[in-house]
Symmetry: C3
Subunit: 646 residues, 3 copies
């Protein structure tokens, strides 16, 4: 179940065979290669040199390794950029983002699209039927380094085409966007402007459409490459390695064209970047926050419709966070087992050997850069390989009892119109996930509109736009459903619904949001009633019949409303309040909860139960002594325990 990322172009060819043998000896089965090698595959325009790559695949295959090949489209070479400068993306301020690193292309460039198609076809046609090749990665980390959206002339032209297709007439677009406001009415689609670099805020409806357009383009670019690969590499899977903590385009839509999803797991760096408190960042500096990797595991399981890998697993310190500590001993092993517990088909370490040169020279790998042997993380990988071997086949993952609805548009809408500077959708969803996991719950992440009939409890931390298909899914399940603030607050065209928020959800719970208050960091609102706790950052002023109010703010207005199996939480709840809400809802849904220590997490895979300790003290578990599969009932810091529950 383990693998690694490898860059044959970084090392003398004479090392390859030995590297391959050592990979096998370590217990690795799969190797990803080729995703940044365009300048080696095509050193001059049109001069293709694919033999070295074939020899690399041959060598790996000969050692018994499966190969995942990549298209190298994330790094167009300099000669291509010089020939077509319009390929370069443009940032929000209008600055061209040029050659020198990676992802220096805009998805709007038709020149680049055809060049990408050409090089993808070259690689797929050349090696697509090689017996060692089992699958494909398209490009690398779409959107990384803020590249999902680009704001240049090329983009504007593509956007106008997209608008023309979407709206047919400017009258419809003016109406949908509310362009009567501030004289924004347009007469022709070629009058449409980029929604940036204006004097102040541009129309939120236009901005949302620009985001949708940008997301659609990534999906189309990905599908284009997937089609080429499938044509030339039958029987192999096609995937993409998504980047964590990243909501800039619709991963579900992109995943629909893939055979499985993969993601790149750097929990420690992500913990530095996520808006945690300083206390949390300090506590988890060397382990990552306990829900960071799991949240993404559960997300990409959804994106891959059940099938997913970790394509890049942090194997030691990284180079890109503001601070980059050495992971605590045991933590690389923990990360690996945790991915497996959540159902990963493969955990691929990044990377085989630390590169002594280039931008990532401070990024560790399984081997030290001096080729003297395994890094500390490499030794932990070897340990997992041995443990996996000892344990044998694992049971298949099963559905969780709880579904958490994640919506990419929710992130776009609330970033376009935060209304309160500290309203952050990604953080809100994460905190709900964390609260549920601290209650010992397994979670499936689902997109809005996904069939919810298999779940007992559904959480929608915030779903501003509730489409008809999403509404129907909520109606059709018998699950207990908890909605968070701003759910139903916007129409498809970024307007306030005619019946006020929660718009279509009023069909499920009869109330209206009359006013909303965003609260500066110094302000807190107390909630009391059947549940109690604190609200910060955001609260809503709600009009409803008294009978539906489960809890109220200090001024008597409803804070939590419930009608049958539908609840609505009218504010940004602190974790204790979320927890109280979830406990009550889980009880109604007859889902058992248990209050875990803050740094411990559980996860079930079939009849196996896993415990992971992110804290600095050992934790005691209770299970029959003979049930232990790995470890014992005492879970040390960074420790893993697995036991059988029958």
């Amino acid at each position: 179940m383990l693998g690694v990322c490898y860059y044959p172009e970084h090392w003398p060819e004479s090392w390859w065979a030995d590297d391959a043998r050592r990979m096998r000896d370590l217990g690795l089965r799969t190797v990803r290669i080729g995703e940044f090698a365009w300048s080696r595959i095509e050193p001059e325009p049109g001069r293709i040199e694919i033999d070295w790559l074939r020899r690399a695949v041959d060598t790996l295959g000969a050692a018994g390794l499966e190969v995942v090949l990549s298209t190298p489209t994330a790094t167009p070479p300099k000669w291509l950029m010089d020939a077509h400068p319009e390929i370069a993306p443009v940032d929000e301020d209008g600055t061209v983002r040029g050659f020198g690193s990676r992802r220096h292309y805009t998805f709007s460039s038709s020149v680049f699209a055809s060049e990408a198609a050409r090089i993808a076809e070259v690689v797929a046609r050349s090696l697509g039927r090689h017996p060692a090749v089992v699958g494909w990665q398209i490009d690398n980390e779409y959107g990384c380094h803020n590249t999902a959206l680009s704001y240049g002339d090329t983009d504007l032209r593509a956007y106008r085409e997209w608008l023309r297709r979407r709206y047919q007439s400017t009258e419809q677009m003016n109406e949908a966007w509310g362009n009567a406001f501030w004289s924004m009415e347009l007469r022709h689609f070629n009058e449409a402007a980029l929604p940036v670099r204006a004097v102040t805020e541009t129309n939120p409806a236009a901005r949302l459409d620009y985001w949708r357009f940008s997301s659609d383009q990534i999906v189309a670019f990905n599908r284009m490459q997937a089609d080429i690969i499938r044509a030339h590499s039958p029987g192999r899977f096609v995937t993409h390695n998504f980047m964590g903590l990243f909501l800039d385009f619709d991963h579900f839509a992109c995943g629909a064209d893939l055979d499985l999803a993969t993601w790149d797991s750097y929990p420690i760096g992500f913990t530095e970047r996520f808006p945690f408190s300083e206390e949390e960042r300090n506590a988890y500096a060397m382990t990552g926050h306990p829900d960071m990797a799991p949240f993404h595991h559960d997300l990409y399981r959804a994106v891959g419709r059940g099938r997913w890998w970790v394509m890049e697993q942090q194997a030691g310190p990284v180079n890109w966070a503001p601070w980059n500590p050495v992971p605590r001993p045991g933590q690389i092993r923990l990360f690996t087992w945790e991915a497996i517990a959540h159902g990963a088909e493969r955990v691929m370490y990044f990377r085989w050997r630390q590169a002594p040169f280039g931008q990532e020279q401070m990024h560790s790998g399984l081997n030290l850069p001096d080729n003297s042997g395994l890094s500390p993380g490499g030794s932990e990988a070897a340990e997992v390989a041995r443990e996996l071997d000892a344990i044998g086949p694992l049971p298949a993952p099963t559905l969780a009892p709880v579904a958490l609805v994640i919506d990419y548009e929710a992130s776009w809408i609330t970033r376009i119109q935060p209304q309160g500077a500290t309203f952050n959708y990604g953080e809100l969803a994460y905190r709900w996930y964390e609260a549920a996991r601290r209650l010992g719950l397994d979670i499936d992440i689902v997109p809005p509109g996904h069939d919810l009939s298999a779940y007992r409890l559904v959480l929608a931390p915030s779903l501003p736009y509730v489409s008809e298909v999403a509404l129907n899914a909520f109606k059709k399940t018998t699950a207990e459903i908890v909605f968070g603030p701003r759910s139903g607050s916007k129409t498809r065209h970024f307007s306030i619904p005619e019946n006020l928020p929660p718009g279509p959800l009023a069909e499920l719970i009869p109330f209206r949001v009359v006013e909303v208050a965003s609260l500066r960091p110094g302000l807190t609102e107390e909630v009391k009633g059947r549940i109690s706790g604190q609200v910060r950052r955001w609260r809503e002023h709600i009009a409803c019949e008294k009978e539906f109010a489960e809890a109220a703010f200090a001024d008597g207005m409803p804070a939590m409303i419930r009608s049958g199996r539908f609840s609505y939480l009218a504010g940004w709840a602190e974790i204790d309040l979320i927890s109280a809400v979830l406990v009550a809802a889980a009880e109604r849904a007859r889902v058992a909860t248990t209050s875990l220590p803050a740094s411990l997490r559980l996860r079930r895979r079939g009849n196996l139960k896993f415990a992971f300790n992110y804290g600095s003290e050992p934790v005691e578990l209770t299970f029959p002594p003979d049930a232990a599969v790995l470890g014992s009932s005492t879970v040390p810091p960074s420790g893993v325990t697995i036991w059988r529950e029958d």
Copy 2:
């Protein structure tokens, strides 16, 4: 005395008559319309569609409402921007600020000036004699979104012309600016550069002139429209709605061409933006700081030479501050009464109905966006209307005993050359105002040079450049005058005066500022003497005869100097020290002071006395029981009490 802002172009025409009727029923008398409707008035270049606007005026007039019409020049339509891209303003970094929101024009564009004249004439000629039209608003919130200054080629050309007119010869300009410094001498006016985007700081004299040039342009643009309106709409007043917290151009100069001044009052949002402490921001998050609206009321009374309105009164949460809470119950009523207490002729709420679309969809109005009825703020407006009706005609406002000198150039000079990062003129002036108001004083704001003979106490928190006319006004009055730091520290051409600061003020108080110290936030200087307290941020080292020193710093140097009725405070005083200075000066001036609770404010209008409670606890007042006009001697939080003082 109440009115509202209305956007007929946002609603079906079939709603208009009902809206008008409901406005009347609510007690509103005046309606402002049209200020962003260019794309509806001229949907294609040259195709004028004014009939809908006439029907709107007809409908409002038929309901008995007075109409304030606006010129729509704040939102030139896209077709105009595409035809003349040079209309767009350019920011300090050189980025063009394009179409997509509002105020996307530079005052330097002669093309835009003639287009603005054309559309203003169209509207004024078409509706200027309509019987329902009582007045005009020109454009909307000049300078808002940082648009008073623009830095493009168009601006540079206009600036060079302005310089040529001002200086006649480059020799005079070189001399005035001190261009011998750093080889900045110019040979021709067309060598003059924009004072931005240089390697480091540009010449402060040039920067001050650029600011004056920019302010002059706004004044000229405003006067041009005023002339057109007056030609076509005889007998109607002409005004502009100024934006609060805004010192980027000279409002007094602009006001000289208006019949009355109006301003847009959003005290809660402004409180979030003003450099208050976090404690103050938390305490007044839902009420606004107690001096925020009053300061502006008193300022715009001066700008309108006695005549002023609130053109936009916050009626609930807004959308543009970092955090936007719901105002505390009663606060919209309080704001309205407070404006009236300070002498407003009209208080116009913004806006009739919350728009469900566009950039301001989260900005509340008197009605909810679903048209289901009044918002909470709407209900408070109705309450004020009833109260006004019950009370009947109010006495005319009278002059205050205290004048506070506000100077726009003082703001420009100290921003161009702060010398200490925390020296902020707007904040300083506000803190002096606050200190005086916490002593129960009514205040008239005046520009430098204004006749001061009617006042007993004059405060000049800082007046770096003291013109001859300003000096004469100080000399001619018999009032007690207190000057704050940096007064008299600059000449007209941004030099240090030949006799050192306080320059011409040395004629009034004999001293010299030898050195100045800006103090980092960690540093405090104690002041002791006839008055005492603390200085932070700024202190001056002063040479003077001992007899003039009223108080000294710890090192013995003078902190407060006085010669007869002229005092000078040689530092940035904390509020307790300002208060001590004011109490002493008021005593000498025989103006009574009273120390109010921190969150209570008083204001007289004729023989009526008003109390406003911004705090969270009730406040007890003492007055004869039968003197009460509104409320009682207990003022609840967000409460208003009015009583008669004979």
Copy 3:
């Protein structure tokens, strides 16, 4: 030993003679002039007006003053910029940095180089043999205002030429830079791009080369002017006035072409800018940090190979720091004596008279701007002049026992690749210097590779790239040597050494750095062993034989390693830990240390010993009563004591 900076072009010619006489009377001997006077020397292209400057030199010379003349190349006039816009530098974001202040040229511009050569020759030829002229300053503060690096088309062309010369072939450059990474391989030198404005981080090897290229250009520009001056002004020294706190180009390389080095000493402003704690900034707001001036004195003594001046000595408040306090009484005198104690040949005050106009009008001088007499700083300068006169000739400076290795490339490397956001080379070196000075040690700063045989203790706070010549210098001396973190961690081409860090230093101490951890501000690591203390910000995971570990982290890994006279400290030590390391090393080196109060510093010059009190309390010294040369054994705040040690 004292002098002053003077701007005859700022004052009426009728004042010059009186100014000169007053300078002499004050005790000044030397005057610098002319460094910004291009527009006066050449008011129109080609029209040279040098007579006024000759008369100024005549006047100063007639008063018995020595003149240092300057080339005015830091301020090209507007007519030159208009004729050749490509002279302007370009910032990292691509914005042209235009006319309006100073240093508005890029060193890459060949047009500017020839114009600079032309004007330098004009001045040198005209006045180079004037008997009053004793030396020359070239240009002014290279690199100030972030002008060492420029990123425009002109720069790109020059950079490509530099690369061509350095690498001969793109194959060698691709190999050196590791361009196989991310498809960065180039086919021609004219494909090389500026290492900025890419999507994310560019290649660190390319960035380091861009920095070297930029530094080389400054060195070449300086040498070009030095050659011209020497040709026309025989027997006069040539210098440049370097700016403090500035590591953007190699001052040692530039100093090699000068006869002596000078620097501009503004310790109070620098203290505001340096990354001190808020506590330190508050404590030393009015004195500057006790090591700020001394560190630079010792640095520029090295740059001038023993000969150095303070070219601009702060004489009162400055105008350019965020806050600019008035120096504490006595502090200007202290600064002057401290420079002398460290061996300055001249201390030149900036400036004779405060200018009432221009960008620096808030920058004090020896005289007030109103010409009424000396400023407080001016009076202190007069006091030093009298004291110097009374004391008579001072002994020659001698070598210190301790050498501190400062490397400009170390700063570039760690800024290009901080790996931890708080790793700041300049700060690290300063903290080591501070720790040594607080132990009473005199320090010589030296560049890597400098002959170390005369020293007993050598400190290298961090030396990432250890060249062969640097390694040999370490090997050849018998001194005790302490290396700090990251030493030996990079090759010349910014790669990890083949044998892992410390690369070539492993020859001196046998260990390997296996992993490195950067620590967020909340994290601390305890060090215990023969020395103990705390590490923050950075720690390394080291593999070595147990015998070499002098101290360990809590997890048992080595924190301090020693092999004979070579030690290595594996983290960013807090000052107590640095101190413990230094005490132990000094003891082995038989260098005496003494623990000074935090705000006191000592310095020897020949047989004289100086004490400087930066604290707010008097400090008692112990020395024989008859040894006192200046002051007494009680050193008051801002006081200086000198005594004889025989």
